[in-house]
Symmetry: C2
Subunit: 200 residues, 2 copies
């Protein structure tokens, strides 16, 4: 299906331009005209790929969060532990930091908009499902406490990752990768692993 | 100074309109023209209070976060414990939920903008300072473990609150107040209080 592939590639190409413009000028300044000028198409051609600005923003958010989800899926496939998998979602690289900016920007859209609400719900559900799978895999291999509620633990991972990313985005220079990872470990590692046998 | 008070009140009145418009239509749709129409002024009058849209958004963010900070200051004054103080920042009321939407919307602005960066830095620093004060007060009164690093613990509170708010904002119906408070307690209460004496 070369035409479908081409269509998807064009949409991703446009989403990259949207991400760059939102980072450079803020989401409130985004116009289809600027997107078209940057991507080298007319606004008519851009509107062939996205019916309106909202659809374009929903797709850009989805592309950003799915890059994170693909990293979790890869960790699951490789049998990596949930803590290492989670670290990769933190804004510790330039690319991930840019994606987080797109994700935060999308949280400022209107909750009354059905396309926004369904994208929010889908994003939370898909990330949570992947964390549950990683935690259950850890329980099966013995690296995660068997008595933990995987659903509740998955939610705690999402709280920590979103929360750490929110602090990093507001003061990037203060948060080198090692500090982000150490904070995530401080907050969650104690809950994951069996208590050590106390000294007699 | 009646003229100064009047000026500040007008700015707050405009910020409330901005918050409502951003919630109803998303930050990307905000225009000074719509703000002026809603508040009942001409755009010229609005531009007397805010030189441009960016300044208006910075002020709206500040008003939203300062309502949270005032609640922390009130808790400090009344000698309430840090956990109860923190709960009041969660989006458990309609008013707080609206403020969180303004705060998230502001995270999508451009980090290259000095006014945005300095407002982010100020917001994080002021909230952290209040949490440190609440934790130190708890250590002095014996409700918080004396050996905890108050700075590190304050950061954990901010991670949890921002992270929980991020999940609530994306699926408000799934997060009644009791669920939000229980999650905050699950994540932090164990770190705050002395370990119980083990059974022999």
């Amino acid at each position: 299906m070369p035409r479908k592939v081409d269509h998807d590639e064009r949409r991703l190409q446009i989403a990259t331009v949207v991400e760059n413009l939102v980072l450079a000028h803020g989401i409130e300044a985004l116009t289809i005209r600027d997107v078209a000028a940057q991507v080298g198409f007319s606004t008519t051609v851009v509107c062939h790929y996205f019916r309106n600005k909202l659809e374009m923003m929903v797709f850009t958010h989805r592309a950003a969060r799915q890059r994170g989800e693909q990293s979790l899926m890869e960790s699951l496939r490789l049998g990596r532990d949930v803590m290492s998998a989670a670290e990769e979602l933190l804004p510790i690289t330039e690319a991930r930091w840019r994606d987080w900016h797109s994700i935060f920007a999308f949280w400022g859209l209107a909750p009354a908009e059905p396309a926004v609400r369904s994208e929010w719900a889908l994003g939370v559900a898909e990330a949570k499902q992947l964390f549950v799978q990683l935690i259950v895999a850890g329980q099966q291999s013995g690296t995660v406490r068997a008595d933990l509620d995987a659903q509740a633990m998955a939610t705690q991972f999402m709280v920590c990752i979103n929360g750490i990313a929110s602090l990093v985005t507001q003061d990037r220079g203060a948060w080198p990768a090692a500090r982000q990872k150490a904070l995530l470990a401080d907050m969650l590692r104690g809950n994951l692993t069996p208590n050590p046998v106390p000294m007699m």
